[in-house]
Amino acid sequence: MQEDEALFDPAFLGRLRVLLLKLRKRRLLQKRGATSTPAAGFTREFKDHRPYISGDDFRSVDWRLFARLEKLFIRIFEEVQEFHLHLLIDTSMSMKRPHPGKRQTALRLAAALAHLGLAGQHRVSLMRLGDTVSQLHPPVKGQGNIHRLLSLMAGLEFGGTSDFETSLGRWRADRSKRGMVFVISDFFGRDLHQAERAVEAAGRWDAETHFVQILDPAEINPDLEGEWKLIDVETGEQRRFFLNRRDRDRLHQEIESYLRHLETSALRREINLVRWTTDQDFEEMFVRLLARGSALADSG
């Protein structure tokens, strides 16, 4: 639990609040409503007038203005959208070992996103991603639920394998799940094509989808020169390898090629894929993530 305490320590929560203030300030500078959209809706929030056009609803005519100006104007009201924020956290063993920083980064990112969502009066759902997708709680709304979500995250067990193809393929972003989806994972599946097929499945969702790939720097450029006995933390498979300098470079190239291929595949399906290494500054990466076309950045 010491690890979990470190996960959401007061310092992190403090930094999270500062981060949200920064986002709010940026939103105000943009002079746009936090939840406003170009569309006109039926909420109580008045937005603007426009001349009456034949066919408009008479109930929307501003009769007071007609009394003063003797012209018909229609009152326009703000349409406030409510998102459903889905946070899918990969809980396979590779997210915890041998690089525990991945788990910490994933959970902190999920916490930040949940906090942002709750602050924006959106519904937030937390789900674990393994061989299947399982929802950890009913969707919650309101800032008061942040501690509940943090508690859930802190108690999240990591282990087992991940099967993106099956889990994300079956998980349908149906009508109730419309909104925004953040999939936080390292995308190391059972084979090298699983992640691509998961991206393909996610491309069919109606929701705005973000894939956040959490990686340790050592995973991108492993220093494995010499003779090694390597253990796959998910499958427990053990194998002995002898890698020389050339093999090490080839390995690095293979990983880079895989990552680039995955990014290209996501981009083709209009999915935002962010590579997030654990040695990068959290706040900077978080802002960069939201800046990449996320509507969540304008909420809260």
Partner: protein
């Protein structure tokens, strides 16, 4: 199986390294990894089971040890068979005489072949056996004293050169065994074109002789085997050059013999090789002056040895020979014959009991027994058989056969009408007397010549006075003149036939040959081991090979000699040369196998 260099087995201690590596350092580092997918992508090799990995680990160790073992065995000279006797010494004896320069059909000489064989076998000599290298022709030379270093043997062999000398194998084996006999058991390897053919009984105990007969089965060679100059008995400044040409082997092409005097071409003869199989005498009448150099050149197609194709004669001071005529009763025809030579021969007279004055070149003992003090050159005319060693009285009824010349064109019989010669024999030379017949009838030599310990004796076993009209014909002074000139010619400076290998008294400190070769004189003596005209101070001469044996050896096999000696084969008491190759191939195979098993892919 045994090792030629067992000391090299210490390299086996290096096996500790792979063993230590196997026991200590072959523990791979263990690390957890998020996924093996990428590394598997590098290695397409199927997943190996743990037992196979373990087996491969043991196999790798085994192969490493095997590689080390094979390399060590190669260095240590692993050899098949038994190491033979506990040899104390190995002696390589090489014939470096002239015939060893004979070129075989493949272009290499017989000596080259011998060196090639020795280099091939030098690696298989067991360590600890000293090798001595001897070479011989007219003398036995130590080329390399007993030594253990192979590189020194090879260096000594590479310095070995043949010499234009005739070999004298009759006393070489004994000298070799005497030289090396102190250290036994020993093995002698003899390389020559004339095997010694010694039986086991001829060898001392603990001495093994292995011979390589380097003579091939066929081939042609022509050479000059003898040369002489005979001044004309009755004509000053003129004479005849006699030369013998020997042609052995099959060849239908003629041989050309040319003669030059002072480098000026004088005569050319074509010789039918079929007539020269036993030696053909060829004569050239020449006019010469003092100091002239006579050069004979033989040109023959497909000739296999060049050193016997030239011969030289240097004409010295034209001093008339001094002849001492010892007789009790001086025959008038003899007196007339001697007087007919005029100033060409100076004649002194003496009785049987008189001493021989100094400066005499030839002593004629006419009808008297040989004196108590022998002279180096003597002519015995009709000696009393009962007082002359080697002669006996003529039997009562001697076989009646006409006299005939033993060799056609013999210079001694030059101008003699043998067919009209009716000698009256008074004695005969017994077979053990040593006289070689020049003119013979059914009872042996009528004119015989004997060379014994530097002394030349010629005998006439007939009485000229009772030989019909012989004394009245020109044949008598001609035969007498030929005989005296021949005997005097070998002993005075006028014409000196020099064979290589001779010791010559000369002036100065060194002798210089026409091609620039120089030899130091030792105490005024010069060993002629180089062909051609030479000059040393005021002395001049010309050395020629002139060896019937060497010329014959250079040709193909001679029935009864070379053919009878099968090429000996080494009985392989030492290592086979192929063992090293087998070891090297095995080593290479193991290295390839290990590479294929364990290193064919960088990742496994």
């Amino acid at each position: 199986m045994f090792f030629l260099a067992p000391l090299q087995l210490f390299w086996l201690a290096l096996a500790i390294i792979p063993l230590v590596l196997f026991l200590v350092f072959r523990r791979p580092k263990t690390q957890e990894i998020s996924t093996l997918l990428f590394i598997k992508q590098l290695s397409r090799k199927p997943q190996e089971s743990p037992w196979w990995r373990q087996l491969k680990r043991w196999l790798a160790l085994l192969l490493s040890l095997l590689v080390l073992m094979l390399a060590t065995f190669y260095l240590a000279g692993l050899s098949r068979g038994a190491p033979g006797q506990d040899l104390a010494q190995l002696i390589w004896v090489l014939d470096t005489s002239a015939s060893m320069t004979t070129r075989e059909p493949n272009g290499s000489t017989r000596l080259d072949r011998a060196l090639e064989i020795l280099r091939g076998h030098s690696e298989s000599i067991p360590e600890g056996v000293p090798v001595t290298i001897l070479a011989y022709d007219q003398e036995v030379r130590v080329i390399h004293p007993p030594g253990y270093q192979r590189s020194a043997w090879i260096r000594a062999l590479s310095r070995l050169r043949p010499r234009p000398l005739a070999s004298r194998p009759e006393w070489v084996p004994k000298q070799v065994i005497d030289l090396a006999g102190l250290t036994r058991p020993l093995e002698i390897w003899h390389f020559s074109d004339r095997p010694w053919n010694l039986s086991t009984a001829d060898l001392p105990p603990d001495v093994t002789l292995r011979e390589w007969n380097l003579r091939s089965s066929d081939g042609f060679n022509a050479g000059i085997t003898a040369v002489d100059f005979l001044p004309a008995a009755l004509s000053a400044g003129e004479g005849t050059v006699f030369t013998q040409v020997l042609a052995q082997g099959k060849s239908d092409l003629p041989v050309r013999l040319s003669l030059k005097v002072n480098d000026a071409f004088v005569a050319l003869r074509e010789i039918d090789t079929r007539q020269a199989t036993e030696g053909l005498w060829v004569s050239f009448p020449v006019r010469i002056k003092e100091g002239a150099l006579i050069e004979l050149n033989l040109e023959a197609a497909e000739d296999r040895m060049s050193w016997d194709n030239q011969a030289w004669l240097r004409v010295g001071a034209m001093r008339p020979p001094v002849v001492l005529w010892v007789a009790e009763h001086r025959d008038v025809f003899m007196r007339i014959a001697l007087q007919s030579f005029g100033s060409q021969i100076r004649v002194l007279l003496a009785g049987p009991g008189d001493s021989i004055p100094p400066g005499v070149d030839v002593v004629i003992r006419d009808g008297v027994a040989p004196g108590p003090i022998p002279h180096p050159r003597e002519l015995w005319i009709n000696p009393p058989p009962d007082q002359t060693p080697g002669l006996s009285a003529v039997p009562a009824s001697p076989p009646a056969l006409a006299p005939r010349a033993v060799r056609e064109g013999d210079p001694l019989l030059n101008g003699l009408a043998v067919g009209r010669f009716a000698p009256f024999r008074t004695s005969w030379a017994r077979p053990d007397s040593g006289f070689m017949p020049v003119l013979e009838d059914g009872l042996g030599a009528l004119i015989g010549i004997k060379e014994d310990e530097g002394r030349t004796v010629m005998v006439w076993t007939f009485d000229p006075a009772r030989s019909g009209p012989f004394r009245l014909t020109a044949s008598f002074p001609l035969l007498l003149g030929n005989t005296l000139m021949h005997l005097a010619g070998t002993g005075r400076d006028m014409v000196r036939v020099e064979r290589t290998g001779q010791l010559i008294r000369a002036d100065g400190e060194r002798a210089t040959w026409a091609d620039g070769t120089q030899r130091e004189l030792l105490g005024g003596w010069l060993t002629l081991d180089h062909l051609g005209p030479w000059q040393a101070g005021n002395t001049a001469g010309a050395a020629s090979l002139l060896s019937r044996e060497e010329t014959q050896l250079a040709a193909g096999a001679v029935p009864g000699s070379a053919e009878a000696v099968a090429s000996p084969t080494w009985t392989q008491s030492f290592a086979l040369p192929g063992t090293g190759l087998i070891l090297l191939l095995s080593l290479l195979t193991l290295l390839v196998l290990e590479s294929w098993l364990f290193h064919r892919r960088a990742v496994f």
